[in-house]
């Protein structure tokens, strides 16, 4: 796939996701907005994928473990040409193809169906292990939520990957600091999160998850250490890019009405 300017791609992802969630009166827009920049850099600059050959055996794999942010994933895939953009209009709609949690069924480019948290990293470990033992060149990128790191299965897999030296595996934690009921530090504190991954044997880097240059720099260098899987803690803002959604728990649940959608889109257009 040709390289693509990531700022424009991120703007498109946010625009589509907002429209989809508005039309469907769906939820999780804040989670989609917090990963839009990471997705844009991944699909614009990092992933070796080909929309014309979604099953290409040596493609890089991307697993959205926080499957509730599916709107952003569908948007970036459609924008990159994996499937027709009109499919986006069917998100969460009767008779549609795209459920609120990511599905791989009949959706080119979605590697794994996710939605229940704590599933993506184990599956990604299996893909990475297959690639390593078969000496295939592909990498496996998996995007977790920070609240998702409450799940024990995340840490089972976090033990597994360094033990098996899966340096073709990259975890990105979308650390937006908010989970379903409130701030992570109040619900179940994860800090020091980077130290935890480091202690499990990962090569760890903390970045600003909205700074495209930083994201591209770190993801362009993986593996950060040979023989180790990489964990990137991407510090992000839930609802990023829409002033009245930023840092607001409520936008884990609410859908923008017509006026809010118009304001959100106007802010996106006005952003540098």
């Amino acid at each position: 796939m040709s390289r693509r300017e990531s700022a424009g791609l991120a703007r498109a992802v946010r625009r589509y996701a907002l429209g989809m969630v508005h039309r469907a009166n769906a939820s999780h827009i804040g989670s989609s907005l917090s990963i839009a920049d990471v997705l844009a850099v991944l699909y614009g600059e990092v992933l070796r994928v080909d929309p014309a050959r979604p099953d290409w055996p040596d493609r890089d794999r991307f697993v959205l473990s926080k499957g509730h942010a599916a709107a952003a994933l569908y948007a970036v895939l459609a924008e990159c040409g994996f499937f027709p953009k009109p499919w986006l209009d069917t998100y969460c709609r009767d008779g549609g193809r795209l459920p609120g949690h990511a599905t791989s069924h009949g959706i080119p480019g979605v590697e794994v169906s996710t939605g229940s948290l704590g599933h993506g990293l184990p599956v990604a470990c299996g893909m990475a292990l297959a690639g390593l033992r078969d000496r295939r060149p592909y990498r496996v990128f998996v995007l977790l939520g920070d609240g998702e790191c409450d799940e024990g299965s995340v840490w089972e897999a976090a033990l597994f990957a360094p033990h098996h030296r899966l340096d073709n595996l990259v975890v990105i934690v979308d650390a937006n600091g908010i989970q379903s009921f409130g701030p992570i530090r109040e619900v179940l504190d994860l800090e020091p999160l980077a130290d935890k991954w480091r202690a499990f044997g990962w090569a760890v880097r903390e970045i600003d998850g909205h700074d495209h240059r930083e994201i591209a720099d770190v993801l362009g260098q993986v593996p950060l250490e040979p023989g180790k899987p990489t964990a990137v803690i991407a510090r992000t803002v839930k609802g990023k890019g829409v002033s009245f959604m930023e840092h607001q728990l409520a936008w884990h649940y609410r859908a923008p009405d017509a006026a809010q959608l118009a304001q959100a889109l106007a802010e996106l257009e006005a952003a540098p």
Binding site: S104, V112, P122, G126, A130, A157
Partner: protein, 320 residues
Amino acid sequence: MRTAFVETLVRLARRDERIWLLTGDLGYSVLEGFAREFPGRFVNAGVAEQNLTGVAAGLALSGKIVFTYSIANFPTLRCLEHLRNDVCHHRANVKVVAVGGGLAYGSQGYTHFGVEDLAVMRAMPYMTVVAPGDPIEARLATEAIAQTDGPCYLRLGKAGEPVVHRTTPAFRLGKAIGLRDGTDATLIATGAALKPAADAAELLDRQGVFVRVLSMPTVKPLDEAAVCAAARETGLVGVVEEHGPIGGLADAVARCLAGHDGAPVCSFCVDTEALLARGEVGSQAYLATQSGLSPEAIRDRVLEELAAHAPARRRVKNAC
């Protein structure tokens, strides 16, 4: 049975390099042969069944045929949602192998009994559910599931099970295996219950009651034709399984026959709550006997049911 399984798997793995074996840190003195011969296709994932199952799905989505191996409920219930979402939802080519199905772990206690597994595995979409009745069936079932695309559950006993089949039977997933024919009733058995069912038929034969015995290694999909034929031709159908009363083979058989004007179905199973209430420790044989799964208990209940259902038998013979 576990020896029959692993020897078969090693043989299959020599011919098919897609075959992998993952264990949740169990199988000491059982799996070493595979691990030695195929170190690149063997993984001990540690005591972490959720990750084990997710890794298996990821490998399968990368083109592998993946066997996961552990005891009783660990590769099934412990990581059930990973089976449901990662394996079944993707129709991933993962074969879940549990040793210690039913009461095989006897004196080890309830944590190690697999008496809800058939129910739960039957409920999983696309899952083929297989419980071989002796080491020969274990070998044939292992070969069959390796050649079948998609999720499968293989429920094994442990070690030292008696060989029931005198010769190697024709084995197809979804097909019953006739062990003996009879006209007065049918006993359908799965897993470790095959031997006591066969022995019960032998006892009944001595009393002039001729009982058909069907081995039903495949619990799902059910061989409905064989079940209906049994109901039509012999009337009373008894289902024998080392499994709790809900959701096992008896339920599958009853559901099948309910669509055919109701035949009497008699369930020989483990009353799990009664077992727990008794609070007794014991071997597999002891606990099975306490649950009414000895050949003598099966014989006695078949005789009682035949007496009770005499009118119904005539009706069913005209149904189906």
